[in-house]
Point group: C2
Chain length 197, copies 2
């Protein structure tokens, strides 16, 4: 149907989002068309804005609209604690829990021999630079409890041994679990019960 | 974080889509930001276009960019067969199967005493008008095999009894199943084995 070319293109693009397949993309597009003024138009507008303004913080890898994010520029967050996470989604999960008052470092993934992901791909050199330049005294390795997450934590711990206090999230992180799936209370408990490596 | 206001707004709007909750909306937005030029910008553009152009066919309720859709204006599809479906998604599912060569009528839901949905809400008056004006000889009631779907089919069958041949999809539609979940082969089989009511 030639007159539905743009609708077909919209379905195809929506189906590329994580969590949406072709069928749920079609449902979503019909929903968008039905809720044109309440949902479709505002969504298109804010997508334009985000496409024009979103960027990764050059210091920590957080996503925002500034070259250096609010957390990195806030003097209140310069308490010597640096929380290392795999992904921006994990940083957001931490912030929602409200338990952590320091700064973050987003690796952007985990080391992986299989996928040939080395330290250079992971913002690890930048992490090592930040320890002296931001007077970091404790690095909290809040990586996922997966094999790759733990391998990455051990690698970073090796690099930083003797330089800073190294801790990891403790109680509450289930084996094989991913941080971003946890509720705020669990994250809070795990952070409070963190243990020295 | 004030600098992420637009990103937060984007997450909130995405979470309103069927099939996406807050967590999957956050994941989707991070994915969009990472794939800015490949996904976010094209998606914003095509959403603007669809918001400006999408409309319901005044005759059948199909969604497209024309006041009267391609199927309704195509003389090839005027074969006397009219397939009645609940939803545009069902029409699309039928079209993907490629088995049906006639025209459609999208009810936009089912009759429901509980939700106070009567014939007027469902484009049923328009359906009755189309029978003489488009020389319809067979009405295929392709409604979902749910209680409301079947109640609606019986209501329409009562209205049209004696005027046209009335059929329904037969073999292959599972009890309680919804048309849009079926594979194309099942829809094809059900259409070929349709039975007179
Ligand atoms: Zn930052
Ligand atoms: Zn039409």
């Amino acid at each position: 149907m030639s007159s539905t070319k743009d609708i077909d293109a919209l379905i195809e693009l929506m189906a590329k989002l994580p969590g949406l397949g072709p069928r749920s993309a079609r449902r979503a597009v019909l929903h968008l068309i039905r809720k044109r003024s309440l949902l479709l138009t505002p969504l298109a507008d804010v997508m334009q804005t985000v496409a024009a303004t979103a960027r990764e913080c050059l210091n920590c890898g957080n996503v925002g609209t500034l070259d250096i994010c609010d957390i990195c520029t806030s003097e209140k967050r310069a308490n010597g604690e640096l929380c290392v996470v795999e992904d921006v989604a994990d940083l957001w999960a931490m912030e929602r829990s409200g338990v952590f008052k320091g700064r973050y470092h987003v690796l952007g993934g985990t080391l992986s021999a299989l996928d040939a992901v080395g330290p250079e791909e992971l913002r690890i050199p930048r992490l090592l630079d930040r320890i002296p330049s931001e007077n970091v005294t404790e690095v909290i390795l809040a990586l996922n409890a997966t094999i790759d997450g733990q391998t990455t934590a051990h690698y970073i711990a090796d690099q930083l041994e003797g330089e800073v206090r190294l801790t990891s999230l403790a109680q509450g992180v289930p084996i094989g679990g991913e941080l971003d799936y946890l509720d705020d209370g669990t994250i809070t408990a795990a952070m409070r019960a963190r243990k020295t490596l």
